[in-house]
């Protein structure tokens, strides 16, 4: 099966600019996640979608970050305006997410490395 696709792989922007990341999950995966991974740390959940609805966005800095998954398939994550501390790798992941008995793993894309200067 095709894996989780993310683009771009790398992005360099200046602070206060905007940036968008795109993710296409594995076909049939209902649940999609965006994680932020700062160098030397583990992934931090930003937002979790179930189909096109938001399940958890408690750690998303909503004054500058937004995400959508309009048709329940691919998703975009946007930062506007970017700050220096947003420099990180942004990972998209998906899982089957069929219900409470589902125990399938997360499948990750290769991530987008963002550098804010």
């Amino acid at each position: 099966e095709a894996g989780v696709a993310q683009s771009p792989r790398y992005k360099i922007i200046e602070k206060r600019q905007s940036v968008a990341f795109w993710c296409n999950p594995i076909s049939g995966h209902a649940t999609l996640y965006w994680y932020q991974q700062i160098l030397g740390q583990g992934p931090k959940l930003l937002i979790q979608f179930q189909n096109n609805g938001v399940v958890d966005d408690s750690q998303l800095p909503k004054d500058r970050f937004s995400a959508e998954r309009l048709k329940g398939v691919d998703s975009t994550l946007k930062i506007q305006p970017a700050k220096l501390e947003d420099s990180a790798v942004y990972l998209c992941a998906s899982t089957y997410g069929a219900g409470s008995l589902d125990n399938s793993p997360l499948h990750f894309g290769n991530g987008t490395r963002l550098t804010v200067t």
Partner: protein, 112 residues
């Protein structure tokens, strides 16, 4: 609440010697548990998963892990380290609500 604790932030082994990366979980029930590996500039790759079937789970690249309920542990092992095993390893648990809980990671160094 669920959580996982990786007991070592850094592990260093010589090539050809055994690898042990330790993970303890906290849950009121037997969770689904996973080990992931992350090589530099790559996404996280699934090594193996425990989903309440056999307690000894075999994964890719010669890794395996044993689920021990009495010790609430899910340690990752490999009999003989290879240079290509040098990477960051994450222990992860899954709740019934499709929520995943990450350990803080263990950096494995393999000395030639």
């Amino acid at each position: 609440a669920q959580s996982v604790t990786q007991l070592d932030s850094h592990v260093s082994v010589s090539e050809g010697t055994p690898v042990l990366l330790r993970c303890n979980y906290s849950s009121s029930y037997s969770p689904s548990l996973f080990w992931y590996v992350q090589h530099p500039n790559k996404g996280l790759q699934l090594l193996l998963k425990y989903t309440s079937a056999a307690t000894l789970v075999k994964g890719i690249n010669g890794f395996e892990a044993e689920f021990k309920k009495s010790e609430t542990s899910f340690h990752l092992t490999k009999p003989s380290a290879h240079m290509s095993d040098a990477a960051e390893y994450f222990c992860v648990s899954r709740s019934t609500g499709n929520q995943f809980y990450f350990g803080t990671g263990t950096s494995l160094t393999v000395i030639p």
